[in-house]
């Protein structure tokens, strides 16, 4: 019995991965995204954008040769300790350029692996300044936390008239901490008062935190956390009949938040990269694709509401293709050099990089949940001022 088991186990381990022969040369683009963990849902929506883009543009002409674009996935599990190995796996697969990740912490955690291998990475929605700061291989196509935090603080103070803001961040999540930090800076600069608290990973009971906010007399509850927590917060805030507005960052721009908020009397505001309807051609194509592909629809949360991160994923893919074309080769170092000068008219807006590698962007969309219809209402386009 034992021997048979042992042999079977060894056989399992030896099972070779069968390579598929291709006629066309292949260029590999690494997808460094969380498919599991707290940010799994967001990561999957971001990947949807890339997959759709890959479907629209499955090949790319580099130099004079047409290459087939192959997406290589590595799940970073939303955790900074799994991220380096996932990154190493992409490096091992010899990808030319990496897209991702959703979540700043994992992007920072994988960064060094890409740097050491000379592979450039394009951050899609990781908004923490740390991702691109002090290196030459990490780029990003979205706005940054100092910008987003300021936009939200401005809105909360000026439009909502909040004097006290309650900020809640997940312990050890760089995205949350970063965004609340910049929000606090901006809000206090405006003359408001900020109470900032943190919750440990794996928390499911937020009632005490919501009670805290009520106790401090907060006018706005700002909790830019992962989707896994935002839905819980929405649900529990609804039960507690809160009288302040809930505010989230780009991670809240998800149909799951919509679903949780529908039928309640909450006022929920989020800042985001894209407002559905901004590019009808893309919207329709993407929705049609979602509705055709059952797995994609599931990954989008079961309906065809477009998440901004999907749009960003789509744009990131085309940014990568542009860089490959400009580099004229699949060599990652050449792509890295070429990326600095890439410009693109993306669905979410014009994309170009500054000297740090960040996108030059100065607008964010603010939208709110229509709790009666379960859809997003467009509120404002905000700049810093």
């Amino acid at each position: 019995m034992k021997k048979i088991l042992a042999i079977l186990m060894v056989l399992c381990l030896m099972l070779p991965a069968f390579a598929v022969a291709e006629d066309m040369p292949v260029v590999k683009i690494g997808v460094f995204e969380p498919a599991s963990g707290d940010s799994g849902a967001g990561g999957k929506q971001e990947m949807l954008g890339m997959q759709y883009a890959n479907k629209i543009a499955p090949t790319v002409t580099i130099g004079d040769t047409e290459y087939k674009v192959e997406l290589v996935y590595a799940d970073n599990g939303s955790s900074t300790d799994k991220a380096p190995t996932a990154a190493a796996e992409l490096v091992n697969q010899q990808v030319s350029v990496v897209l991702g990740s959703y979540g700043s912490g994992v992007s920072i955690a994988g960064s060094r692996n890409f740097a050491d291998a000379g592979i450039p990475a394009i951050g899609v929605t990781c908004t923490n300044p740390q991702v691109t700061l002090g290196n030459t291989h990490y780029f990003r196509i979205c706005f940054l936390d100092p910008f987003q935090g300021t936009v939200l603080a401005n809105y909360a103070y000026k439009e909502l008239g909040a004097q006290v803001a309650y900020c809640l961040a997940e312990l050890g999540n760089d995205y949350d901490t970063g965004l609340t930090y910049y929000f606090q800076q901006a809000f206090e600069a405006l003359g408001g008062m900020v109470i900032s608290e943190t919750f440990p990973t794996g928390t499911s009971d937020f009632t005490s935190y919501i009670n805290n906010a009520t106790g401090y007399g907060a006018g706005v509850f700002f909790a830019p956390c992962s989707l896994a927590y935002s839905t819980l917060i929405v649900d529990q805030a609804a039960d507690l009949n809160v009288n302040f507005a809930l505010m989230g960052g780009d991670t809240w721009d998800s149909n799951m938040v919509l679903e949780a908020a529908t039928g309640t009397n909450l006022n929920i505001l989020v800042s985001t990269f894209y407002q559905e309807g901004g590019n009808p051609e893309f919207d329709n194509g993407f929705k049609a694709w979602l509705n055709e592909d059952a797995e994609a629809l599931t990954n989008n949360g079961g309906n065809d509401i477009i998440a901004a991160v999907s749009v960003m994923g789509y744009d990131a893919y085309f940014t990568a293709l542009e860089a490959l074309k400009a580099a004229g080769s699949t060599d990652s170092k050449a792509v890295n050099t070429a990326l600095w000068n890439v410009t693109l008219e993306g669905v979410s807006g014009k994309i170009a990089f500054d000297e740090i590698g960040d996108a030059i962007r100065d607008t964010a969309y603010i939208k709110s949940v229509n709790t009666a219809t379960g859809a997003w209402d467009f509120v404002a386009v905000q700049g810093v001022n």
Binding site: S204, G215, L232
Partner: protein, 307 residues
Amino acid sequence: MFNTVFPYLLTGISVGGQYALIAIGYTMVYGILRLINFAHGDVFMVAGIVMVYLNASGIPLWLSIVLTLLITVAIGFSIERIAYKPLRSAPRMSIMISAIGVSYTLQNLVLYITGGLNQFYPKIPFISNSVTIFGASTKMVTLVTPVLTVILVVALVMLINHTKIGMAMRAVSKDFETSQLMGIKINSVISTTFIIGSFLAAVGSMLYFTNYNTVIQTSGAMPGLKAFVAAVFGGIGSIPGAVVGAFVIGICENIIKGLDIILFKAGITTQNLGLATFSDAFTFALLIVILIVKPTGLFGEKTTDKV
């Protein structure tokens, strides 16, 4: 002051009730097998997932509740038969490792099946409704939980004290070998223990996930750990101990979360100290203090080593 503290107390009692239902499973298994059943928190999580999938299949809610209870009990029973029974004569460490392995397997299996996405727990009518009590608004389940917990615990204690199987359980937990020699069917006693534990975990999961509407593969880890701490706190092996421990820990942890504002309102502090960071750590600190002062927990029996 009361108005400040009351909402935290209310949440604490509700959370404590949920922990209690899980903690009983830990404490009973430990009492009989001297095994820390690390997989128990994951059984609780699986109960949640089962409910989600049953409800999605379109069968009536009452039927999914009944089926969830049955399936969870079956899972608990099979885990014992597959992963623990073959190791009965092995060193205790092996069984514990097996428990960690089961926990790992259940989590990965759920990760695979759900694709790592949050699953929305169905709303159970009545207990999902909102109510207002002493000016604090909450879900009905918050009030139902402690009451249901107490009812179930009383029933369980009656079962243990007044039935034949209960007597067998008490005998086995006092002395495993001797009761085996006395003709008690050890395996059926152990299976019963696991069945009761899983049943309570399933009930707990319904209350818990009604409150916190999403289930994911790691949902069981934290409540499991807390419930386990509660069981040790109360003296592992003792059912009243587990219940008391669970309520103490549930209340303490929520008070800590609100401690900053309580201190602030009482005029003791002027700024936020970030004490909420320690809501989990405090649970463990409390546990360690108890263990050092009373090494076998609040209601634990003292064991002496024969020389």
